[in-house]
């Protein structure tokens, strides 16, 4: 068996016994690294520039945009924090994200359990309705007319409502619940367990990985949304951080140290979050894609 370990499906070159001791240069690997590193430069470039720029003063930046700063200057961060109304916008974003994701998850779990287990008539067609959502025309205009007529324009509650729907999240939950053995439901029914208790105490603990994935995906969506706050919120006090950033950019157009500081203060925590939640995020992206 070890004789064929030397497969090159991406070269699982576990130093196999059959190999000569003298290390041969694997040109495939060299070329791979050259391509990967070249691409990494394209990815790191904008990120490094974002980290470097806030450390300079504005005159320094104007004189030499790419040079290293003479002295470590952190005033850009304070500047952005105050002038960009940062704490306020950040708090708004957190409130919108947490409230909409929590409410969405509760409604979505009950939807998904009923559809996945065929507890309601027409479960199959209901599921299709959620699957086709990706292809439908943008709901933007009638949605706006609806919110307007409900009197929820420029109202945080109306804004949060827009995020209580996430078809891909429902599809991921349904697909995951289907992998759980049906015997569990039957056991629960025999023990005379009510439906609510069944979902909360039996199903939810079993589908926690899927819930985590859907929660993280939904949260990223709300957190990053730029267009809906532009359409629905006109009062600056309601702005989430995305809209606040763009307004700040519009006002302080050429003060790149301050703008970069503001962007960095958002991007850095997101990066840390991503490093921790990577598994669920990537799992969610691929799970959402497999349904097609």
């Amino acid at each position: 068996m070890t004789a064929i370990v030397d497969l090159d499906r991406g070269a699982a070159t576990t130093a196999s016994a059959t190999r000569p001791k003298r290390r041969r240069l694997d040109w495939g690997h060299v070329v791979s690294y050259v391509i990967l590193i070249a691409l990494a430069v394209v990815y790191l470039g904008p990120m490094l520039m974002l980290v470097l720029t806030p450390l300079k003063t504005l005159p320094e930046f104007q004189k030499n945009a790419i040079g290293l700063p003479d002295t470590l200057n952190l005033s850009s961060f304070a500047n952005a924090w105050d002038k960009a109304n940062f704490p306020r916008y950040l708090l708004n974003t957190v409130i919108y994200t947490v409230s909409s994701v929590l409410i969405f998850l509760v409604t979505a779990v009950f939807l998904a359990v009923a559809i996945a287990r065929r507890f309601v008539r027409g479960s199959g067609s209901l599921f299709t309705l959620f699957v086709i959502a990706l292809f439908l025309p943008a709901a933007l205009i009638p949605q706006f007319q609806l919110i307007l007529r409900l009197g929820l324009y420029d109202n945080p509650i109306g804004y949060v409502m827009l995020f209580l729907v996430n078809p891909i999240g429902v599809v991921i939950l349904v697909n995951y619940i289907r992998t759980i053995p049906v015997e569990l439901d039957e056991a629960a029914a025999i023990e005379g367990c009510g439906y609510f208790r069944f979902v909360v105490q039996i199903v939810i603990p079993l589908i926690m990985p899927a819930i985590a994935t859907v929660a993280v995906l939904a949260a990223i969506g709300v957190w990053n949304e730029l267009i809906l706050p532009t359409i629905y919120l006109s009062n600056q006090d309601y702005y989430p951080i995305t809209r606040g950033l763009l307004v700040f950019y519009g006002v302080y157009g050429s003060d790149w140290p301050s703008i970069a500081a503001a962007v960095l203060m958002i991007a850095a925590p997101m990066t840390v979050f991503f490093l921790f939640a990577q598994r669920w995020i990537i799992g969610g992206v691929t799970a959402g894609a497999v349904k097609g």
């Binding site: 990223i220 990053n224 763009l246 703008i259």
Partner: protein
């Protein structure tokens, strides 16, 4: 089966608990989405109290045939198609290449995968502002580099075609990670025994890719193609952050938004022609539907031929 959770009213419990989620979906997503077709036949505006009239197909007629504006609209449709083709071809090819490279036993694959996926979670605002800084035209990183090579470009403030091309670059940079991880997930489903058999037969890398990886990756190829095509046809938000509503660069998604809500700011204004914008939105939808279904049909046929 229905009696599982007791008799009488208890049987209705699943219906009761499912209702809030379903109502929200109909009210906020599905209903409005379908109502776009209805609104496209009216003269609705951005104000709630103005009367709304039926205008039949007038919006469509105006959008596609009336004077200089219609020529601009057709140009926007063609630009959307060009954007979609460019993004799809590069993002698909590069995503596949990177996934193949990272699917090898190499040091640092985890680092590269994380790095290439990271922009996905930043969202358009951070993606766009990051690149606006990177493309800073007076001594910015890219300008300095290209300047030293004797290349002078207009960057985001340059000619429309130049700015347009940069948005394509940023779009791909931002979303390559999605294509990559979907391909990586697909690659793990190919059993390694098949490669071992290929190795015994003395095949080289290219032959193994052509005869094993590519055909067996067909379902993933299809998913990625459809997702990228539809996504890029509908994409427009990076245009807003990077260059704004600039003549000669507008794509359909941005045109719909700008017509319905104003180019940069939202709000309720009578002059926002939302019925007309809904018609434009339906035109974009028609393209997404026809292109999506045609590609899907061709891919399915190919899949049936390859995997039987």
């Amino acid at each position: 089966m229905d009696q599982r959770f007791g008799g009488g009213f208890a049987r209705l419990a699943p219906y009761v608990y499912l209702t809030p989620g379903l109502l929200l979906y109909f009210l906020i997503a599905l209903g409005p989405s379908l109502a776009t077709a209805v609104f496209s036949l009216t003269d609705a505006t951005g104000l709630p109290n103005l009367p709304v009239h039926w205008v039949g197909l007038a919006n469509y007629k105006e959008f596609l045939t009336l004077g200089a504006a219609a020529r601009e609209n057709i140009a926007a449709i063609l630009r959307t198609l060009a954007f979609s083709v460019a993004v799809t071809v590069v993002q698909f090819t590069l995503g596949l290449l990177v996934a193949l490279l990272l699917n090898q036993k190499l040091r640092g694959t985890k680092f590269f995968r994380t790095l290439f996926f990271l922009p996905v979670i930043f969202g358009v605002t951070v993606q766009g502002l990051m690149w606006s800084l990177f493309l800073y035209p007076i001594g910015g990183p890219l300008q300095s580099l290209l300047h030293s090579l004797g290349i002078e470009l207009g960057y985001l403030g340059g000619q429309p075609m130049e700015a347009f091309a940069w948005v394509i670059v940023v779009q791909i940079w931002s979303n390559l990670g999605i294509t990559m991880v979907i391909f990586l997930a697909g690659l793990t489903t190919i059993p390694s025994e098949i490669y071992e058999a290929g190795l015994i037969d003395g095949t080289n890398r290219w032959q193994r890719f052509r005869d094993i990886t590519w055909p067996l990756l067909t379902p993933t190829v299809n998913t990625n193609l459809i997702l990228t095509i539809i996504g890029s046809l509908q994409a427009w938000q990076l245009f807003l952050v990077l260059i704004g509503y600039k003549d000669g660069t507008q794509v359909m998604g941005y045109l719909v938004y700008a017509t319905a809500f104003g180019a940069t700011t939202g709000g309720t204004v009578a002059s926002f022609r939302q019925g007309y914008a809904a018609a434009a939105s339906m035109v974009l939808f028609a393209f997404v539907l026809v292109i999506g279904m045609t590609v899907q049909f061709l891919l399915r046929r190919r899949e049936a031929r390859l995997l039987g």
